[in-house]
Subunit: 293 residues, 2 copies
């Protein structure tokens, strides 16, 4: 199976599982559940859940036993996008070529759909199989840490506060680690934990995620400058227009490209303990750095 | 010890525990952590955490082992108030006699402080002691269900959608159960679970919470009409002005009072299996129905 076929197959499996976990559009209140599903089934790449599943596999675990964790990280990711797009935050009208959730359902329902997705993520995760080394409490603590005020939410605050002013390199890393790398790393660590991996393996795969996540965000920032809205499926040039703190803004495009390459190398090195079992994770890293949207 | 002294003592213990769980105001991003603490230490009655602790005690458990769950439910409650007060929702400037979180920190930080409090609630809960019958996964699933799209979040959506139109009695119950009773019941059930209570006891104490929560909300709705802003410590008459679906609006004040009394009786009946051990829970119910703010 080629990497693309494999990714497409996992994507479909994740979508089916998400469809089972989320209340139907008819469940009361219907507007809320429609909004949750609109956002979740909005053409996302399913990067984080696929990484979670691939990590489980690299640690000798089963895809099926990592699926709840994979769905949980995707729900957290989707909630964060809904809230980031709100008028009081990044005020974005388009996401993946479609209207953002608040544009379709109004601000109040968008805020609440985000809240409900964050909440259901923990409900899903709470029902994961426990392994010899890890129970649901360990998984929930892992996800909550990455999604909380020190990383995902904290990164968004730091991102907004860094707008339209000179940003120090360490602030930029704080933002990117929080907004992207921490959740990518947590997705991988959770996958490894569902496979009952030893601490050293969980740490190694987390390091891979941290480097990959930072590299991914730098590439994303570069694409925002070099691509059109059509190519991206979202408003291009938005970062610069909003005076956002990005790698290209702080270091220039060339230096940013080199930093992304350095981080990718570090990511690959972190996978060494997994040998051939990490081939699929390497392949995903290839895809992420070569992408054009 | 009188009931008032006991409540004050538990209130202080909860505050101290919350202070330990929440990141300091100096932790980066400082604005986020200041906003979280502003909302949490904003003069709340700590009703839900006290009920959680009292439930643990009624089931023969220790206050100390229920404290994490008690803090978790208070974080969820606080997050829901921050988001409910937002301009796109109830647009409230005052809460417990102080400016609401978005009035002090801006809308974006308020949304994110709510998000972070919801997230940290699950992190705290994930670290609760497991008992013979219940592990962290059971507790997290319990809280997530009550806080999710079918109850807390769903209730807020239904509440907004019921504004300025005729509301059916069953819609009213859906709103009140979601916005108040489900979380009150979950607080009690979680307390019982930390005490390793048998399923029948968890169910009974949950029924107490459900009836008490509905009665509490009806009393709250009545106070909004009959008291001044000064007496309430928040804008009075707001429900009527906003065309909110409330018991007094649908049934009138007298019938609402009778319904509150009927529910209180049902609540007390649910406590029968606990005998004298539930004295404190009965006393809390007395306080809640006799209150004037």
């Amino acid at each position: 199976m080629t990497v693309k076929t494999r990714l497409a197959s996992l994507h479909k499996q994740v979508d089916r599982a998400l469809d089972r976990w989320l209340p139907s559009e008819k469940t009361k209140p219907a507007s809320l559940h429609r909004a949750m599903r609109y956002a979740v089934f909005g053409g996302g790449k399913r990067l984080r859940p696929v990484l979670c599943l691939a990590a489980a596999e690299a640690c000798g675990g089963k895809i099926s036993e990592a699926m709840a964790a994979a769905c949980a990280v995707e729900c957290v990711h989707t909630y964060s996008l809904i809230h980031d797009d709100l008028p009081c935050m990044d005020d974005d009208d388009l996401r993946r070529g479609r209207l953002t959730t608040h544009k379709v359902f109004g601000e109040a329902v968008a805020v609440l759909a985000g809240d409900a997705l964050l909440t259901v993520a923990f409900e899903i995760l709470a029902r994961t199989h426990k392994t010899k080394r890890y129970d649901a409490g360990d998984l929930v603590a892992e996800l909550a840490r990455a999604a909380g005020s020190l990383f995902l939410v904290g990164g968004q605050v730091a991102d907004m506060e860094a707008e339209n002013r000179l940003t120090k390199p360490e602030e930029l890393v704080f933002i990117h680690r929080g907004k992207t790398a921490a959740m990518v790393a947590a997705s991988l660590r959770l996958g490894a934990m569902t496979a009952n991996a030893k601490t050293a393996k969980v740490e190694a795969i987390g390091k891979f995620g941290e480097s990959l996540g930072l590299a991914f965000q730098i590439v994303d920032d570069i694409l925002d400058i070099t691509q059109t809205s059509e190519q991206l499926g979202k408003s291009a040039g938005k970062d610069a227009a909003a005076g956002k703190a990005t790698y290209p803004a702080v270091f220039g495009i060339e230096k940013s490209r080199r930093e992304a390459a350095r981080l990718t190398k570090a990511a690959r090195k972190a996978l060494e303990p997994f040998g051939k079992k990490a081939d699929f994770l390497h392949a995903i890293a290839d895809q992420l750095l070569g992408r054009e949207n």
